[in-house]
């Protein structure tokens, strides 16, 4: 190509040897620059191929368990989802995620998504549809699936209760406690517990909380004989009653015949990560699996 351009300009006006040498060097330098810059940008595929860029994503992220390609392609990396989250659960990935740079993720152990926004504001804020708008209620989302990873570490399995701050006094995570403040999340450290049997993962599960609230409302409605109206109120709050349970404490028998309780993850789990966040055991006994959702569990 350099020959061609040289010939062409020669036809117009012969170049001095010095100019010719300069343009040859410029061409070589430009080629190296092209290869260099494109090469560096393509290095971004390494974390993607290695799977180290796979993380818990905000509600509605378009992805299949092992393939986030579509999500990375559609995300414009603006962080508008980060800005609307009331518990600051969403963070943006850095350069070590390669092509995933600037893409939102959630580190559940540090701060999970507790749906305290009610209306899935992150989904509404997304300008490109990377967080799909085909999502009306928290229970519709498919972020992952909880799994009791270390059953022996689980306090309920050990038959132990829990007293104090779930994650210690220095923990900065937030949760919305409806009984404290309907609209504003508060620090988990400001809300100590005193439980005979630890059931924090069930107690704080946003899906379970909603189911309980719906059940109470239904009971009230039945008492007053006005069920239709109550259903509409629930919808107005943007938190329609979840159709299925996400996590419950179920009894099981030890080899010695003793009965204990353990958390069992149910079909309604959306993978928000609150159970992983609130688990007082270090490191968490219950974690979120990213490669599983209720849609991919099968059966």
């Amino acid at each position: 190509m350099s020959d061609m351009t040289t010939k062409k300009s020669q036809a117009k006006r012969p170049l001095s040897p010095k100019r010719k040498e300069q343009s040859r060097r410029e061409f070589l330098r430009s080629s190296v620059l092209t290869v260099g810059v494109v090469g560096v940008s393509l290095l971004g595929i390494i974390p993607v191929v290695q799977g180290t860029s796979i993380r818990l994503r905000p509600p509605g992220a378009i992805k299949t368990p092992f393939d986030e390609q579509e999500f990375f392609a559609s995300c414009i990396k603006c962080g508008q989802c980060v800005q609307v989250c009331p518990v600051n659960a969403i963070k943006l990935a850095d350069l070590e995620d390669g092509f995933g740079i600037g893409v939102p993720y959630i580190d559940a152990r540090t701060q999970a998504c507790d749906f305290s926004c009610d209306g899935l504001q992150c989904v509404l804020a997304c300008p490109t549809g990377a967080l799909t708008h085909h999502l009306d209620y928290p229970a519709d989302t498919r972020m992952g699936f909880a799994r009791l990873a270390r059953p022996r570490a689980c306090l309920a399995v050990q038959g132990k209760g829990f007293k104090g701050q779930a994650r210690g006094p220095d923990y900065e995570g937030l949760l919305r406690y409806d009984e404290v403040d309907r609209w504003n999340p508060i620090s988990v450290a400001d809300h100590p517990y005193d439980l005979e049997l630890c059931d924090l993962c069930v107690r704080q599960c946003p899906i379970e909380i909603r189911i309980t609230q719906c059940a109470e409302k239904a009971k009230q409605a039945e008492a007053s004989g006005d069920s239709g109206k109550i259903a509409r109120v629930a919808e107005q709050h943007g938190n329609e009653c979840p159709p299925k349970h996400a996590i419950v404490l179920e009894p099981f028998e030890l080899p010695n015949g003793e009965t204990r309780m353990k958390p069992v993850v149910k079909e309604g789990c959306v993978g928000c990560g609150v159970c992983e966040m609130i688990c007082p055991v270090e490191s968490a006994a219950i974690v979120i699996d990213l490669d599983k959702t209720t849609d991919t569990l099968g059966g």
């Binding site: 430009s30 092209t34 392609a73 603006c78 962080g79 092509f99």
Partner: protein, 323 residues
Amino acid sequence: MRYIRDSLSQIFGNKPRRPSKAEQPPELLEIYQGKKGNLSKADVEAVRHEHHTGCCNKWQRRRWITLILVNVLFVVSYYFDVQLLEGALTASRFVGFHMADLNSALQVALAYKHIVLNLVIGTATVFIMWLLLGGRTFCSWVCPYHLLAEWAEYLHLWLVKKKLIKNHTFNRKVRGVFYVIFALLALISGYTVFETISPTGILSRALIYGPGVALIWVGALLLFEVFYSRRAWCRYVCPIGVTYGVVGVLSPLRVKYNAEACHHEGDCRKICMVPHVLDLTVRGAAHDVNQDVGADCTRCGMCVDVCPTGSLVYEFKGLSKLL
């Protein structure tokens, strides 16, 4: 028509075409003829001195203030949760109204192959906005990397002056090559590959959401520009500039050059970030007595500031008579 053709040609790296004498109007030739040997060095110095005693760096100051304000507005909006300008430079909402960077939107569209309505609204808004304000105005009036690179450029020029380093140029056509490569990469790979290394996106996010490892890449780029090649990223690589440049071809905001006042001493070309657009200030290179600087111009206004005779001025086509 010639403005559009020449602008596009320059954006994609061709040298500005010099007109033959036959193509230049007689008034222009007369002006060139009249200036031959008429100005002594002392005359030029006198005019320069007069100019510099007045104002200096007026446009540069306004530009830096604008650039910093826009970026601070993003930061403040998030930090104090005032919802004025949410998001980052790649896509944002200004008082609730969607805006999307044209090049980021293009990359997403090519990679995702599906465009949602909000992105259409955002892209159209920005397209119209930059159609009015001028395409590459984005580069020097908004882009945070531009400001850092401008300071790196001063350092580079100082080092060159001290003869500590040499500037290495590249072929300007390489920017067009990058543009095509990054568009193809997005289309074929399905990833917004350019975003991985875009210092505009990285810096904008770092300012708003806090610094990260990615700043090392921005630092490396700046070092490359300081020690090896003057303003390399903006001049030879960045596809954002190309996208805005192409939009800017139709923009009514331009820098107008008047050949009559010009002394051809070349101060403007020395400070210009994209000096090829000012080739028309060379004696004998203009097509007309009054000619607009091509759309690859970032409208930074440094030439307007530095020109001792006011032969380079901002102009908003069709409005200048009203203003």
